[in-house]
């Protein structure tokens, strides 16, 4: 089992630092560029939501990120200090009434690119799970 845990301030300048740290942690697993793109996108979308909607861009409030990889299963957890949100009420951004709207695609992309997405009860923590076949597993 490989694990990485860290925090970033709720400042958009740190989004790339977070994904570079996570992708650096995954180096050596020989993941394809396509999988690394998906992982980066989902992580950054979750971090943006946490910074913007969870912690309301209050730089002093941290966003927690935890990544673990074992036997082909990648888990990424992103947690903010906000009140959470009704994650079951997200409208479909593909529908004709939403297709022109600015928001709503981040979580939709996460749900499409990850195998499993779980929120805690209050909705301020998202856990994203992806099975990675073909990569070099550390064997747990």
């Amino acid at each position: 089992m490989k694990e990485l845990e860290f925090e970033i301030p709720s400042d958009p300048e740190y989004i790339k630092d977070a994904s570079e740290k996570v992708l650096g942690f995954l180096e050596g697993l020989e993941l394809t560029k396509e999988i690394l793109f998906d992982i980066r996108l989902c992580l950054e979308e979750a971090v943006i939501n946490a910074i913007k909607y969870g912690n309301k861009l209050e730089k002093a409030i941290p966003v927690s990120i935890r990544v673990s990889f074992s036997e082909g299963r990648l888990e990424i957890m992103v947690k903010d200090c906000g009140k959470g949100f009704q994650y079951s009420d997200i409208p479909d951004p593909r529908s004709s009434k939403n297709i022109l709207k600015h928001g709503g695609r981040g979580l939709f992309l996460i749900r499409n690119l990850m195998d499993e997405v779980v929120f805690n009860d209050s909705g301020n923590e998202i856990k994203m799970i992806k099975s990675i076949s073909g990569g070099k597993s550390d064997g747990g």
Binding site: P12, E13, I15, K16, K33, E34, F37, R40, L41, E44, E45, I48, P93, R94, I99, L100, H102, G103, R105, G106, F108, L109, N112, L113
Partner: protein, 110 residues
């Protein structure tokens, strides 16, 4: 991210180099608003050097599409990487945009 503007015939081509993400999408927005101020009616966004777009980038491209359309013009996208194109497919934005394989084809298709 850098956006270069060039004229090809009567079309304006925006060549984007870099990522269109949460932090850089305001710069892309400025670039297309400038093109709109110049009353461009045929706008091509060349994404050949864009390896990464996030949901903010997609939203900004939707805004560009709508603003060009509401001023009576047309916006076309070109040279999308396979991964960036897949985001348009997942979100069904491929149906909203006219996506052309190359800049030349995009310019000729107006």
């Amino acid at each position: 991210m850098v956006v270069k503007e060039k004229k090809v015939g009567d079309a304006v081509v925006l060549v984007v180099d870099g990522e269109i993400n949460f932090n850089s999408s305001p710069d892309f927005r400025k670039a297309f608003l400038k093109v709109l101020e110049e009353k461009a009616q045929k706008v091509v966004v060349n994404l050949s050097s864009v390896a990464y777009v996030d949901s903010s980038g997609l939203a900004t491209l939707v805004e560009a599409h709508q603003k060009v359309k509401s001023s009576g013009g047309k916006l076309k996208l070109t040279n999308l990487s396979a991964k960036v194109k897949s985001l348009f497919e997942i979100t069904k934005l491929e149906k909203l945009f006219d996506i052309q394989p190359t800049e030349d084809e995009a310019v000729k298709s107006f």
